[in-house]
Symmetry: C2
Subunit: 172 residues, 2 copies
DNA sequence: TATTGTTATACTCTATAACTATA
DNA sequence: TATAGTTATAGAGTATAACAATA
């Protein structure tokens, strides 16, 4: 796919320099395609085996770890889904009987969503399957690399978050 | 949020073991949330500054690097978008005057999509902006970590791909 | 007035399957 | 018969903004 042998060394150098200038871009594209690959598979399985979508799974996961439930605004922040769209997601999950909405005494503007017993059971099964899918898909990656990735991906997230929040609040 | 001090050590150990058993899951969740964070920002900027979506950007990027264009089936594979949906994406881009569809002589079933001159110009500007957004967002991550991530994320992708293709073809 | 959610809207993406034209 | 694309359909997600109820 590349040019003849005579030019290999030069090409290699040139390519290396070029790549060195776009490390962030290359990493992003690689993360994006990898995430897309895995997401599509996970979404497919969630739908066929549990009739759920990824955003729904995300909502349930948040509520599963908060037995007392979460206010919709908080749910919105944690899932990075806008308020208006959280309403729609929560409505579908409520229609499925997996969660309920309650208005606590004291502040009637507030709505708290929490899992029903059936929702807990259902999510528990989903989470177990989900975890085993991932273990299976990543089985060739050694634990050391995963630990490293965990920390490095966190660093990326921190960097991005910092730049986004700074940009929003107009820093010094 | 956690129990009293007496139980701390035990809890710590238990949690460590638990986490040790779910490294893949934790990594996936972290990658997913990071990707979502970045994607939302990139999508927002692509839309507001270029009136484009991420899947559209992806299509254009593929065509940009193949001056002679690509058959829609190939485009479908590379972007991980189904044939039918590629048709829709390509139609919108053609309506915007960024690409054209042509049927080569020889096999009239085939459709090749390629960038128009205007599409090349437009994408060139998008790609430059895109690259600088990412450099900016990831600016706090050092080059060494990025190089490491590049290789490790590749390993993940390979592992996932292997397991998906094996599963599909029923291996030995 | 500010906050919490809801409603409304318009688009795009996604998945699946049936279908047409060509080979 | 197999292949390349298209069409059709249904359902969700996403972003934005206007709105109602409550504080």
């Amino acid at each position: 796919m590349h040019a003849g042998n005579e030019a290999v060394d030069l090409e290699f150098i040139v390519q290396d320099v070029k790549e060195g200038e776009k490390l962030e871009l290359r990493l992003w594209l690689r993360m994006l395609s990898t995430t897309k690959l895995v997401s599509q598979e996970i979404r497919r399985r969630l739908r066929s085996e549990f009739g759920a979508t990824l955003p729904q799974f995300d909502i349930l996961a948040q509520l599963y770890r908060e037995r007392d439930g979460l206010r919709l605004g908080e749910l919105s922040k944690r899932t990075m889904v806008t308020n208006g769209n959280v309403t729609g997601l929560v409505e579908r999950l409520e229609a499925d009987g997996l969660i309920v909405r309650e208005t606590p005494d004291g502040d009637r503007r507030v709505t708290v969503a929490k899992l029903t017993p059936r929702g807990q059971e259902h999510f528990s099964a989903m989470a177990a399957a989900h975890e085993s899918w991932l273990r299976d898909l990543m089985t060739d990656v050694d634990a050391k690399a995963i630990r490293l990735l965990l920390s490095n991906v966190s660093d990326i997230k921190k960097s991005v978050t910092r730049h986004l929040t700074e940009g929003a609040t107009e820093p010094n």
